[in-house]
């Protein structure tokens, strides 16, 4: 890794890590007695680790490969491994919190292990740790391949990757200490938010600089999806996290907005985080790896471009459907509902386009679990976008909101769509990236596929059933016009479904562990592929090159 950096790049990297160490020390000193101080130590240690690695190699060899001859894949490789590590940790957390709902004793009476603190470790860990790392890794791969150009420089990609993981680390450790600004998917406090803005700006400029170097005139559609993901997430993140720190020496801050204004900003962010973090970026993955794996061009490239502009222009207005029947003005709710229903068109266009691409390649779907991951992901994308549009309709929302149905919907998208397309893409990417012939075990990929699918189906069906039961119990009135069931009645009715949900999640994380094991074994034990010649060879020219002894 470090040996492929030039002396100038090593110097720049050391300066950055040094600045990081100073910032960490300042946070640790200023935030004594506050979780911010603990975060200061984490930041200090994090940068010290990289400073140490760089210092050891500072005067090492400077023999560099010709950079114009190959893509820069090291950050992609590390990103994939980090993504898998986060997947196992964060999905494991998910199983733990799911089990806590069924058996509350599993909290073990500690403050840090309460549901309220562990749940954001699960959600942030899965969305940002697993999903974010996978997005960064695959975007580095795709932007270089489709541009037929190498990334500029070798410091920025590492800065983006490790900087982003530092954000995830601060976020997750903060939740355990009770640091949160209580905004869903935007829980980290002000200093973590500022750091993410820095990382994100570097990410965006890196992407644009790579595209500017492209040797292929056309910008492939996947790049547009990734760019929308990066750009829109930046704007959403900045606006939703506008806050005034209570002091410069503590983690606590107060939102710039209050009451329903704050709620509207939060769900404008929250829904678009689903749209541009969990949809747009992963559609970029789908539009690259599905055609590559099926060895067929996308069914309608024109439609893929149309659906890109469709979701880009529609999604941003849909957030207010999270606030039906609240103090939010009625017309704003209706606006969000209308756009949510319209979204079905570009969403199904993408799902249909992916499935139509497989027409003529269904035998590959049957034989190849990797392609099957992507196919089922497209099906779940279609299912959950339909469900999302449906649930955004005000009267339907009256039944579904605040119930487990919402959790079921989110997980149909997160497990069925996001995670399955990611695992499919990782299996498609890993052998080529490490120049291996195949994955270590194709049987393990099959097992992962079926376990993950079974886990998703069990999870989603359990939550659909429990959510609808819950919603109906809460709105059932007796003869005298009073509520028929107490809240506790509905809670007792949930128990079997909570057990089923924890079991479904356990299956899913088992699949992820199998996947991570398979990837590690592929890297360690599958022989390197003999590099293919990239110039024409004929039998005559080959002849003299053969060693005489053989």
């Amino acid at each position: 890794m470090i040996s492929s950096l030039t002396q100038a790049e090593r110097g720049a990297a050391m300066l950055i890590t040094l600045a990081g160490m100073v910032a960490g020390l300042a946070m640790a000193a200023a935030g004594q007695g506050d979780p911010m101080g603990a975060h200061g130590w984490i930041v200090l240690l994090f940068f010290a680790l990289f400073f140490g690695l760089l210092a050891r190699a500072a005067y090492g060899s400077d023999e560099l490969e010709d950079r114009s001859l190959a893509y820069y894949d090291d950050p992609t490789k590390v990103g994939i491994l980090l993504s898998l590590a986060w997947a196992v940790i964060a999905m494991g957390m998910g199983v733990w919190v799911a089990a806590q709902l069924a058996w509350p004793d599993l909290r073990f009476d500690a403050a840090w292990s309460g549901f309220g603190r562990l749940r954001p470790v699960h959600t942030s860990g899965v969305i940002f740790g697993f999903g974010g790392n996978a997005l960064i890794a695959t975007s580095f791969h795709i932007m270089q391949r489709t541009s037929r150009a190498r990334m500029p420089g070798q410091v920025a990609p590492w800065f983006v990757l490790f900087g982003f993981n530092l954000f995830c680390l601060i976020a997750a450790s903060g939740y355990l200490m009770g640091v949160t600004q209580s905004k869903e998917y935007a829980e980290p406090e002000w200093y973590a938010d500022i750091w993410l803005v820095v990382v994100w700006v570097v990410y965006f400029t890196l992407y644009i600089r790579t595209l500017a170097r492209r040797r292929e005139p056309h910008i492939y559609v996947a790049n547009w999806y990734y760019l929308a993901f990066i750009l829109v997430v930046a704007v959403l993140h900045i606006v939703n996290n506008l806050a005034v720190p209570a002091s410069w020496t503590g983690a606590k801050s107060y939102s710039a907005f209050s009451g329903v204004q704050d709620a509207m900003t939060q769900w404008w962010y929250g829904h678009n985080a689903v749209a541009f973090f969990l949809t747009s970026g992963f559609l970029g993955m789908l539009y690259y790896f599905l055609p590559k794996r099926a060895e067929r061009p996308i069914y309608s490239y024109r439609l893929s471009i149309l659906s890109f502009w469709g979701i880009t222009f529609f999604y941003i207005w849909a957030g207010s459907h999270h606030l039906h029947y609240t103090a939010l003005p009625h017309w704003v709710q209706t606006l969000g509902m209308t756009f949510s229903v319209m979204l079905l068109v570009p969403s199904w266009a993408s799902a249909g386009n992916a499935l139509m691409t497989l027409n003529g390649a269904w035998h590959k779907v049957r034989d190849d679990a990797t392609l099957r991951f992507m196919m089922v992901a497209a099906v779940f994308y279609g299912l959950s976008t339909f469900e999302g549009s449906f649930m955004a309709i005000r009267p339907v929302n009256g039944l579904s909101h605040y119930t487990e149905w919402t959790i079921g919907h989110v997980h149909a998208g997160a497990m069925g769509w996001v995670a399955l397309i990611t695992f499919g893409s990782i299996y498609a990417l890993v052998p080529g990236l490490w120049r291996r012939e195949t994955m270590y075990s194709w049987k393990a990929v099959e097992w992962h596929f079926w376990i993950a699918l079974a886990g998703t189906v069990i999870y989603v069906f359990a939550m659909w059933n429990s959510g609808i039961i819950q919603g109906l119990m809460w709105r059932t009135y007796g003869e005298s016009g009073t509520l028929r069931y107490s809240f506790t009645d509905s809670l007792v009715a949930m128990h079997p479904y909570y057990v089923a949900r924890a079991f479904g999640g356990l299956l899913f994380v088992t699949g992820a562990i199998i996947g991570a094991w398979n990837v590690v074994m592929t890297i360690r034990h599958v022989p390197r592929q003999v590099p293919e010649r990239d110039h024409p060879t004929t039998s005559e020219t080959m002849e003299p090159a053969l060693p005489a002894a053989e």
Partner: protein, 68 residues
């Protein structure tokens, strides 16, 4: 609802940016050869960047053919 006086302009500006990007892509000829654009990602068996034009390698000439 002062927040809407904030969110709606932000959203409209983002929409306008998107529209500008779309018109740029339209005018710069991004959509001239959609069939070729969709298929070219499938042909990178050697998995290396295209070399700069000054070195005349085989790959470079084929890329010129496909983009025209």
């Amino acid at each position: 609802m002062s927040v809407l006086a904030f969110l709606i302009p932000v959203t409209l500006v983002m929409g306008a940016l998107g529209l500008a990007a779309f018109f740029w892509s339209l005018r710069s000829g991004q959509y001239e050869d959609l069939t070729g654009d969709a298929e070219r990602i499938l042909f990178d068996a050697d998995d290396t960047p295209l070399t700069p034009p000054r070195t005349s390698s085989r790959r470079d000439t084929t890329s010129k053919e496909t983009t025209k």
